[in-house]
Assembly symmetry: C2
Homo-oligomer: 299 residues x 2
């Protein structure tokens, strides 16, 4: 499947509206225009109105389809974008030219925020053309060294994302370096506990199995060869990593060395958040907004 087909399959059936915090950035504005043209998203631009208009004009970016909500500084821009979602004027959030921490502070504000499940985590959405599958990887971008409780919430968030994107009953592989529980390898113990939490109904809406090594999670042949009996092995939709280094290395190999398309959505707030960074490809930025839009529409 090429990118056009992937985007057509991913994008929400009708434009969702994204509230952008601190939209005074030419790359962000161009991405929004591209998303608009693709029928993915409308936008509410929160930020310094004069500056936004100046930048758009200087770069020849036509922002006429979008609403602008003036905000004098970064903090006010974040609050305005959050308010737009709270008030139903937008379906999802997007980070513009501000620190991630500033945006999350507004999201987590007890009175005026968009607090959700209790843990904000990053879900990378990767389409692998070699596997011809879309995979959800978490957490390679936000939670560094999750304990068991945090891992359970990371799974909840990833499951919401996968379901939002149309996976009816996501298969969740809790990754480790081996398939057996090893008392000297905490990730294998946590994986076993998470599997059992799923069986006991403490983690819902998915099938969890672990510990699984990556080959067994991805390849039915590897699973068969190692004799692993599992509903998840070989067909995982969601890959849960024991630490941020494993998750980060993995998602970057998919993009840098496996021709994958990479998008990212932050889950756990009351609405999905797009946190694409300047280093993401143009395709990746569009894909992120499409994913967040689909998730926003379905949750």
């Amino acid at each position: 499947m090429d990118f056009a087909a992937l985007l057509a399959q991913t994008k929400p059936p009708k434009r969702q509206t994204v509230a952008v915090a601190a939209a005074e950035d030419s790359v962000v504005l161009q991405t929004l225009v591209d998303a608009y043209k693709e029928g993915i998203a409308d936008a509410v631009l929160c930020g310094d109105e004069t500056r936004i208009r100046e930048i758009a004009q200087a770069k020849g970016i036509d922002i006429s389809p979008f609403a602008i909500m003036h905000a004098a500084d970064e903090k006010k821009a974040a609050a305005a974008a959050v308010a737009a979602v709270r008030e139903g004027k937008a379906d999802m959030l997007m980070k513009g030219l501000l620190q991630t921490s500033s945006l999350l502070k507004a999201v987590l504000d007890k009175e005026h925020g968009l607090r959700g499940s209790g843990l904000i985590s990053h879900v990378a959405v990767t389409y692998s053309p070699i596997l011809d599958r879309t995979l959800f990887l978490s957490d390679g971008g936000m939670i560094t060294y999750p304990d068991l409780a945090a891992k359970a919430k990371i799974i909840d968030n990833a499951v919401l994302a996968a379901k939002g994107m149309g996976v009816v009953l996501p298969k969740v592989a809790v990754l480790a370096a081996v398939e057996t529980v090893n008392p000297d390898m905490q990730p294998t113990i946590d994986a076993a506990a998470l599997t059992q939490m799923n069986r006991r109904g403490q983690i819902k809406g998915c099938i969890v199995d672990g510990p699984l090594a990556m080959d067994v999670a991805l390849s039915p042949y590897a699973a068969e060869h190692k004799g692993i009996k599992s509903e998840v092995a070989g067909y995982a939709d969601i890959l849960i990593f024991p630490n941020i280094e494993a998750g980060n290395c993995a998602l970057k190999i998919f993009t840098c060395a496996a021709n994958g398309i990479f998008g990212g959505v932050v889950m756990g707030a009351a609405a999905p958040i797009v946190l694409s960074s300047r280093g993401d490809s143009e395709q990746g930025k569009l894909f992120s907004i499409a994913c967040a839009g689909k998730i926003a529409m379905n949750n």
Copy 2:
């Protein structure tokens, strides 16, 4: 580069001899015959001679080119294979049908072993057709949670492997999730320390830089985009992982989702050790022996 070209480039200019511990296994015997036919390796088969001959006959495997050293049990087979290398009858070791721990016990025996640098570690050798590069990944298979001292030795071992395979001055990326030193992320601190240990001559024969995230290690564009000035960024030969989960996930993505060819060599003993497992592809098994042969010849 297809597999035939890769193998031709990798294999030693003349056959090296591999001493196989517990060779009574049809898959191992077939791999050895394949390696012999490719001009990669001769073999000394250590194990139960009757059983070895029975298996070869039953499967129609012609083991006539190989020497057999009879050993009544697994422990004796391991000792015999180690002795063959010590006495110069073989250049490298290979694991047959025995536990890895049994083989390593013989290798580490103070009196009769093949002790080397002090730390035995696993170096995965991966050819990525998408990047058209051979990468050395460590440690995704043996050392679980290395401390700083262990990481330095893991680098030494990987550098020996890379140099043995013809990389004159290996570029070593010490991986983390970010490129900045973060007091709350131990891998970034260790990476900085390893970089400085290299500058002070405590780690030799290579250029070390870290912390680097995987994209910056692999892609010159990512490195440039993030403004990382580094002799390693974008062109890493060796990837050093902070923990076994990160390393294991990474090497399995290269093979399962990136069309990579994967071989593995255990370094740190007085000779390279081939530890291919039944789950490895035929190509991977041959590639492992070719890598070990080249390393044995050049070290």
